[in-house]
């Protein structure tokens, strides 16, 4: 991916109000790949008894990261929207730890980008969640 497009993708993601509200940080972006991190925050807790982050916050992280991977693919001319997204939760994220989502756009057609992702905390060998999704591809001019 060209430097310009990387820059644009970075700015675009950092300008998303919901991603900002969740404190997401783009840590890597390349040709069809992206990594976004989200710090632990008491406000995002889904189970007050254990302090585990809500699945919805992990979904938001996965969706943003998958969208970034779809957008950064060289064959994608521009913006994207989620068509569907499936998330499987393997285990609760460890309270207090940062969550990182890593996404890869593994196939793209003129209309659809196919993306898969995983979310990890400090123990990368045991993923917290995996996701697969499809995203729109902007019609070529």
């Amino acid at each position: 991916m060209g430097l310009d497009k990387t820059k644009i993708a970075e700015q675009f993601i950092e300008a998303i109000p919901h991603s900002q509200a969740l404190g997401m940080e783009l840590t890597e972006i390349g040709e069809g790949i992206a990594e976004i991190a989200m710090d632990y925050d008491d406000r995002f807790v889904g189970d007050p008894e254990t302090g585990v982050i809500h699945g919805g916050a992990v979904s938001a992280l996965m969706d943003t990261c998958c969208g970034a991977a779809a957008m950064s693919h060289p064959d994608n001319p521009g913006a994207t929207a989620t068509i569907d997204l499936r998330i499987d939760y393997m285990r609760p994220a460890t309270p207090g730890q940062r969550i990182r989502a890593q996404a890869e756009c593994y196939h793209i057609t003129r209309s659809v980008a196919f993306v898969r992702a995983r979310a990890i905390d400090d123990d990368p060998d045991r993923p917290v969640a995996t996701a697969t999704g499809t995203f729109t591809v902007e019609a070529a001019q």
């Binding site: 998303i16 919901h18 919805g56 969706d63 998330i87």
Partner: protein, 169 residues
Amino acid sequence: MTRRQPDPVQVVKQRRDAALNALVHGVPYIQFLGIGFDRRGDELTALMPFDEKLIGNPLLPALHGGATAAFLEVTAIIGLSWSILWDEIESGALDPEALAGGQMPRLPKTIGFTVDYLRSGLPRDAYARAHVARSGRRYASVHVEAWQDNRARPFAQATGHFLMPRRDG
């Protein structure tokens, strides 16, 4: 034969609302997103009032897919928990004051959740209802639909599978 007198309507309502309130207010992320629930009998409608921080595409503008997914998942979990707890709320076995004091019942855990985005989420209030398709001892399957201005034009739907909380004793 004597029949037990039904509880006065305000007692019944108070008990149901207190239980729902405790369930919803005990979860920080539900508060963060500003989600509330409207109750009519046992039917719940989730409400997510529009807020700038829910925006995912500032140019359109449109709601963030992640905010929509979270809204659907919250609706599914609360809807499922509510259906599990209903009998205990009605019988009075569940003490709403203990709930409000932080003694939350264990919530179902999400196994998998699939969201379909049908239309762009507009910068307006959103509503959702959950339907428990199957509720077993260990697993449950829940379908959720979310809409904005028109009930007949949902902007997102989801199906999730959940691991039921252990009910000891």
